[in-house]
Subunit: 163 residues, 2 copies
Protein backbone atom coordinates (compact mmCIF):
# COMPACT_ATOMS: atom_id res chain seq x y z
CA UNK A 1 0.00 0.00 0.00
CA UNK A 2 1.12 3.49 -0.75
CA UNK A 3 -0.27 4.85 2.47
CA UNK A 4 -1.52 8.38 2.66
CA UNK A 5 1.71 10.27 2.29
CA UNK A 6 1.15 13.90 1.38
CA UNK A 7 3.15 13.59 -1.76
CA UNK A 8 0.89 10.83 -3.08
CA UNK A 9 -2.20 12.92 -2.48
CA UNK A 10 -1.31 15.64 -4.94
CA UNK A 11 0.02 13.60 -7.84
CA UNK A 12 -2.16 12.21 -10.58
CA UNK A 13 0.29 9.42 -11.27
CA UNK A 14 0.05 8.31 -7.64
CA UNK A 15 -3.75 8.51 -7.70
CA UNK A 16 -3.87 6.60 -10.96
CA UNK A 17 -1.62 3.88 -9.54
CA UNK A 18 -3.87 3.62 -6.49
CA UNK A 19 -6.59 2.50 -8.92
CA UNK A 20 -4.70 0.64 -11.62
CA UNK A 21 -1.11 0.40 -10.37
CA UNK A 22 -0.73 -3.31 -10.15
CA UNK A 23 0.30 -5.72 -12.87
CA UNK A 24 -2.77 -7.91 -12.88
CA UNK A 25 -5.05 -4.91 -12.90
CA UNK A 26 -3.41 -3.44 -15.99
CA UNK A 27 -3.38 -6.83 -17.72
CA UNK A 28 -7.10 -7.28 -16.98
CA UNK A 29 -7.71 -3.87 -18.52
CA UNK A 30 -5.53 -4.76 -21.50
CA UNK A 31 -7.73 -7.81 -22.10
CA UNK A 32 -10.92 -5.82 -21.68
CA UNK A 33 -9.73 -3.09 -24.04
CA UNK A 34 -7.90 -4.97 -26.74
CA UNK A 35 -9.03 -8.61 -26.52
CA UNK A 36 -12.70 -7.75 -25.88
CA UNK A 37 -12.85 -10.00 -22.80
CA UNK A 38 -15.99 -9.53 -20.69
CA UNK A 39 -16.43 -12.79 -18.77
CA UNK A 40 -14.66 -14.08 -15.69
CA UNK A 41 -13.61 -17.26 -17.51
CA UNK A 42 -12.16 -15.30 -20.43
CA UNK A 43 -9.96 -13.23 -18.16
CA UNK A 44 -9.04 -16.29 -16.14
CA UNK A 45 -7.99 -18.44 -19.09
CA UNK A 46 -6.05 -15.73 -20.83
CA UNK A 47 -4.17 -14.53 -17.76
CA UNK A 48 -3.74 -17.82 -15.89
CA UNK A 49 -4.51 -15.88 -12.72
CA UNK A 50 -5.81 -17.47 -9.49
CA UNK A 51 -9.59 -17.11 -9.33
CA UNK A 52 -9.59 -15.43 -5.92
CA UNK A 53 -7.07 -12.82 -7.11
CA UNK A 54 -9.04 -12.22 -10.30
CA UNK A 55 -12.32 -11.85 -8.37
CA UNK A 56 -10.64 -9.36 -6.05
CA UNK A 57 -9.19 -7.29 -8.90
CA UNK A 58 -12.45 -7.26 -10.87
CA UNK A 59 -14.37 -6.15 -7.76
CA UNK A 60 -11.81 -3.40 -7.21
CA UNK A 61 -12.16 -2.17 -10.79
CA UNK A 62 -15.96 -2.17 -10.47
CA UNK A 63 -15.72 -0.21 -7.19
CA UNK A 64 -13.38 2.28 -8.86
CA UNK A 65 -15.85 2.81 -11.72
CA UNK A 66 -13.46 1.42 -14.32
CA UNK A 67 -15.54 -1.68 -15.09
CA UNK A 68 -19.29 -2.15 -14.89
CA UNK A 69 -20.78 -5.50 -13.92
CA UNK A 70 -24.03 -6.76 -15.40
CA UNK A 71 -25.68 -10.13 -14.94
CA UNK A 72 -27.39 -10.70 -18.25
CA UNK A 73 -28.26 -14.29 -19.13
CA UNK A 74 -27.35 -15.43 -15.63
CA UNK A 75 -23.64 -14.88 -16.22
CA UNK A 76 -21.80 -11.82 -14.98
CA UNK A 77 -20.18 -9.64 -17.63
CA UNK A 78 -17.60 -6.96 -17.01
CA UNK A 79 -17.60 -4.06 -19.44
CA UNK A 80 -15.42 -0.99 -19.55
CA UNK A 81 -16.92 2.31 -18.49
CA UNK A 82 -15.80 5.53 -20.21
CA UNK A 83 -13.31 5.92 -17.33
CA UNK A 84 -11.90 2.47 -18.11
CA UNK A 85 -11.88 2.96 -21.85
CA UNK A 86 -9.94 6.18 -21.30
CA UNK A 87 -6.92 4.16 -20.14
CA UNK A 88 -6.25 3.00 -23.70
CA UNK A 89 -3.69 5.70 -24.45
CA UNK A 90 -1.63 4.89 -21.35
CA UNK A 91 -1.71 1.17 -22.22
CA UNK A 92 -0.59 1.88 -25.78
CA UNK A 93 2.27 4.02 -24.42
CA UNK A 94 3.33 1.16 -22.08
CA UNK A 95 3.18 -1.27 -25.00
CA UNK A 96 5.37 0.96 -27.15
CA UNK A 97 8.01 1.11 -24.45
CA UNK A 98 7.96 -2.70 -24.17
CA UNK A 99 8.21 -3.00 -27.94
CA UNK A 100 11.32 -0.82 -27.94
CA UNK A 101 13.05 -2.28 -24.90
CA UNK A 102 11.69 -5.75 -24.17
CA UNK A 103 10.61 -7.38 -27.43
CA UNK A 104 13.62 -9.17 -28.93
CA UNK A 105 11.44 -10.97 -31.51
CA UNK A 106 9.63 -7.84 -32.61
CA UNK A 107 6.38 -6.24 -31.50
CA UNK A 108 3.85 -8.94 -30.58
CA UNK A 109 0.94 -6.53 -31.16
CA UNK A 110 0.46 -3.71 -33.63
CA UNK A 111 -2.11 -1.07 -32.87
CA UNK A 112 -3.97 -0.01 -36.00
CA UNK A 113 -6.66 2.48 -36.82
CA UNK A 114 -9.87 0.48 -37.31
CA UNK A 115 -11.00 2.73 -40.16
CA UNK A 116 -7.91 2.66 -42.37
CA UNK A 117 -5.65 -0.06 -40.94
CA UNK A 118 -2.59 2.19 -40.56
CA UNK A 119 -0.42 2.01 -37.44
CA UNK A 120 -1.47 4.07 -34.43
CA UNK A 121 1.19 5.48 -32.12
CA UNK A 122 1.31 7.69 -29.07
CA UNK A 123 2.93 11.10 -29.54
CA UNK A 124 4.02 13.73 -27.05
CA UNK A 125 2.89 17.05 -28.47
CA UNK A 126 3.24 20.66 -27.42
CA UNK A 127 0.06 22.68 -27.97
CA UNK A 128 2.14 25.36 -29.70
CA UNK A 129 5.03 23.50 -31.39
CA UNK A 130 3.55 20.09 -32.30
CA UNK A 131 5.60 16.98 -31.68
CA UNK A 132 8.29 17.31 -28.99
CA UNK A 133 10.75 14.98 -27.33
CA UNK A 134 9.70 13.81 -23.88
CA UNK A 135 13.10 15.02 -22.64
CA UNK A 136 11.97 18.58 -23.37
CA UNK A 137 9.01 18.30 -21.04
CA UNK A 138 8.98 19.90 -17.58
CA UNK A 139 6.53 19.14 -14.77
CA UNK A 140 5.25 22.47 -13.42
CA UNK A 141 2.81 23.00 -10.58
CA UNK A 142 -0.82 22.96 -11.74
CA UNK A 143 -4.03 24.40 -10.23
CA UNK A 144 -4.46 21.34 -7.98
CA UNK A 145 -1.07 21.78 -6.28
CA UNK A 146 -1.03 23.45 -2.84
CA UNK A 147 0.76 26.82 -2.98
CA UNK A 148 3.64 25.89 -0.65
CA UNK A 149 4.52 22.87 -2.75
CA UNK A 150 4.08 24.78 -5.99
CA UNK A 151 6.79 27.22 -4.89
CA UNK A 152 9.20 24.38 -4.17
CA UNK A 153 8.52 22.80 -7.55
CA UNK A 154 9.14 26.01 -9.46
CA UNK A 155 12.32 26.69 -7.45
CA UNK A 156 13.58 23.21 -8.31
CA UNK A 157 12.94 23.72 -12.03
CA UNK A 158 14.79 27.06 -11.89
CA UNK A 159 17.75 25.35 -10.17
CA UNK A 160 17.89 22.61 -12.79
CA UNK A 161 17.69 25.13 -15.62
CA UNK A 162 20.52 27.13 -14.08
CA UNK A 163 22.56 23.91 -14.15
CA UNK B 1 4.55 -12.54 -9.54
CA UNK B 2 3.12 -12.93 -13.00
CA UNK B 3 4.77 -16.30 -13.51
CA UNK B 4 5.73 -17.40 -16.96
CA UNK B 5 2.31 -17.83 -18.52
CA UNK B 6 2.50 -18.01 -22.29
CA UNK B 7 0.25 -15.05 -22.70
CA UNK B 8 2.61 -12.83 -20.72
CA UNK B 9 5.56 -13.84 -22.82
CA UNK B 10 4.26 -12.35 -26.05
CA UNK B 11 2.80 -9.08 -24.83
CA UNK B 12 4.81 -5.90 -24.51
CA UNK B 13 2.50 -4.59 -21.80
CA UNK B 14 3.18 -7.71 -19.72
CA UNK B 15 6.92 -7.45 -20.30
CA UNK B 16 6.85 -3.77 -19.41
CA UNK B 17 4.96 -4.48 -16.21
CA UNK B 18 7.50 -7.15 -15.29
CA UNK B 19 10.04 -4.30 -15.19
CA UNK B 20 8.02 -1.32 -14.01
CA UNK B 21 4.59 -2.67 -13.08
CA UNK B 22 4.51 -1.79 -9.45
CA UNK B 23 3.42 1.39 -7.84
CA UNK B 24 6.62 2.28 -6.04
CA UNK B 25 8.67 1.59 -9.13
CA UNK B 26 6.64 3.97 -11.25
CA UNK B 27 6.68 6.62 -8.53
CA UNK B 28 10.47 6.30 -8.25
CA UNK B 29 10.70 6.83 -12.00
CA UNK B 30 8.30 9.76 -11.80
CA UNK B 31 10.64 11.39 -9.27
CA UNK B 32 13.71 10.64 -11.36
CA UNK B 33 12.11 11.99 -14.53
CA UNK B 34 10.16 15.00 -13.33
CA UNK B 35 11.56 15.94 -9.91
CA UNK B 36 15.20 15.34 -10.90
CA UNK B 37 15.82 13.07 -7.89
CA UNK B 38 19.10 11.15 -8.03
CA UNK B 39 19.94 10.31 -4.40
CA UNK B 40 18.58 7.63 -2.12
CA UNK B 41 17.57 10.23 0.48
CA UNK B 42 15.73 12.33 -2.08
CA UNK B 43 13.60 9.41 -3.20
CA UNK B 44 13.09 8.31 0.40
CA UNK B 45 11.94 11.68 1.69
CA UNK B 46 9.64 12.40 -1.20
CA UNK B 47 7.99 8.98 -1.29
CA UNK B 48 7.97 8.14 2.42
CA UNK B 49 8.91 4.60 1.41
CA UNK B 50 10.61 2.09 3.73
CA UNK B 51 14.36 2.13 3.10
CA UNK B 52 14.57 -1.64 2.47
CA UNK B 53 11.78 -1.46 -0.11
CA UNK B 54 13.38 1.55 -1.79
CA UNK B 55 16.79 -0.16 -1.91
CA UNK B 56 15.18 -3.23 -3.46
CA UNK B 57 13.32 -1.24 -6.12
CA UNK B 58 16.37 0.86 -7.00
CA UNK B 59 18.49 -2.30 -7.36
CA UNK B 60 15.81 -3.81 -9.59
CA UNK B 61 15.73 -0.73 -11.82
CA UNK B 62 19.53 -0.76 -12.09
CA UNK B 63 19.47 -4.49 -12.99
CA UNK B 64 16.81 -3.80 -15.62
CA UNK B 65 18.95 -1.06 -17.18
CA UNK B 66 16.43 1.66 -16.37
CA UNK B 67 18.64 3.46 -13.84
CA UNK B 68 22.41 3.68 -13.71
CA UNK B 69 24.22 3.83 -10.38
CA UNK B 70 27.38 5.83 -9.89
CA UNK B 71 29.32 6.53 -6.72
CA UNK B 72 30.74 9.95 -7.28
CA UNK B 73 31.76 11.92 -4.21
CA UNK B 74 31.25 8.86 -2.04
CA UNK B 75 27.49 9.00 -2.36
CA UNK B 76 25.57 6.79 -4.77
CA UNK B 77 23.55 8.55 -7.44
CA UNK B 78 20.87 6.99 -9.56
CA UNK B 79 20.43 8.45 -13.03
CA UNK B 80 18.03 7.49 -15.78
CA UNK B 81 19.39 5.63 -18.75
CA UNK B 82 17.89 6.23 -22.22
CA UNK B 83 15.68 3.20 -21.52
CA UNK B 84 14.44 4.85 -18.31
CA UNK B 85 14.01 8.27 -19.87
CA UNK B 86 11.92 6.66 -22.58
CA UNK B 87 9.18 5.94 -20.01
CA UNK B 88 8.25 9.62 -19.88
CA UNK B 89 5.45 9.36 -22.43
CA UNK B 90 3.77 6.49 -20.57
CA UNK B 91 4.03 8.41 -17.29
CA UNK B 92 2.53 11.52 -18.89
CA UNK B 93 -0.33 9.39 -20.25
CA UNK B 94 -0.96 7.93 -16.76
CA UNK B 95 -0.91 11.45 -15.30
CA UNK B 96 -3.46 12.68 -17.82
CA UNK B 97 -5.83 9.86 -16.93
CA UNK B 98 -5.49 10.72 -13.23
CA UNK B 99 -6.07 14.40 -14.00
CA UNK B 100 -9.31 13.55 -15.78
CA UNK B 101 -10.65 10.95 -13.34
CA UNK B 102 -8.97 11.38 -9.97
CA UNK B 103 -8.09 15.04 -9.47
CA UNK B 104 -11.11 16.79 -7.89
CA UNK B 105 -9.05 19.92 -7.13
CA UNK B 106 -7.58 20.19 -10.61
CA UNK B 107 -4.38 18.87 -12.13
CA UNK B 108 -1.56 18.98 -9.53
CA UNK B 109 1.08 19.03 -12.27
CA UNK B 110 1.11 20.58 -15.72
CA UNK B 111 3.56 19.26 -18.27
CA UNK B 112 5.01 22.04 -20.36
CA UNK B 113 7.42 22.30 -23.22
CA UNK B 114 10.69 23.59 -21.78
CA UNK B 115 11.40 25.73 -24.84
CA UNK B 116 8.12 27.63 -25.13
CA UNK B 117 6.21 26.91 -21.90
CA UNK B 118 3.05 25.65 -23.64
CA UNK B 119 1.21 22.57 -22.36
CA UNK B 120 2.39 19.18 -23.56
CA UNK B 121 -0.13 16.36 -23.97
CA UNK B 122 -0.10 12.80 -25.19
CA UNK B 123 -2.00 12.13 -28.41
CA UNK B 124 -3.05 8.91 -30.10
CA UNK B 125 -2.28 9.35 -33.78
CA UNK B 126 -2.79 7.26 -36.87
CA UNK B 127 0.17 7.42 -39.28
CA UNK B 128 -2.27 8.13 -42.13
CA UNK B 129 -5.16 10.07 -40.56
CA UNK B 130 -3.55 12.06 -37.73
CA UNK B 131 -5.29 12.23 -34.38
CA UNK B 132 -7.71 9.39 -33.65
CA UNK B 133 -9.85 8.33 -30.73
CA UNK B 134 -8.40 5.46 -28.71
CA UNK B 135 -11.74 3.67 -29.19
CA UNK B 136 -10.93 3.39 -32.88
CA UNK B 137 -7.74 1.46 -32.22
CA UNK B 138 -7.48 -2.30 -32.75
CA UNK B 139 -4.72 -4.58 -31.46
CA UNK B 140 -3.56 -6.76 -34.35
CA UNK B 141 -0.89 -9.44 -34.28
CA UNK B 142 2.59 -8.06 -34.94
CA UNK B 143 5.82 -9.70 -36.17
CA UNK B 144 6.69 -10.91 -32.66
CA UNK B 145 3.47 -12.90 -32.25
CA UNK B 146 3.64 -16.68 -32.85
CA UNK B 147 1.59 -17.68 -35.91
CA UNK B 148 -0.97 -19.83 -34.06
CA UNK B 149 -1.82 -16.99 -31.70
CA UNK B 150 -1.84 -14.45 -34.52
CA UNK B 151 -4.61 -16.40 -36.26
CA UNK B 152 -6.72 -16.41 -33.10
CA UNK B 153 -6.26 -12.68 -32.66
CA UNK B 154 -7.28 -11.85 -36.22
CA UNK B 155 -10.29 -14.20 -35.97
CA UNK B 156 -11.39 -12.44 -32.79
CA UNK B 157 -11.15 -9.00 -34.41
CA UNK B 158 -13.20 -10.26 -37.37
CA UNK B 159 -15.87 -11.59 -34.97
CA UNK B 160 -16.05 -8.29 -33.09
CA UNK B 161 -16.31 -6.32 -36.34
CA UNK B 162 -19.12 -8.58 -37.52
CA UNK B 163 -20.93 -7.69 -34.27
Amino acid sequence: MLGKAYDSQVCSIARTLEIVGERWTLLILRNALFAYSTRFGEFQRSLGIATNVLADRLDGLVSAGVLERSDEEGQPEYRLTPKGRDLATALIALTEWGDRWAAPLGAPIEYRHSECGSPVRVHTRCDACGQVEARDVEAHAGPGMPADRAELIEARIARVRAG
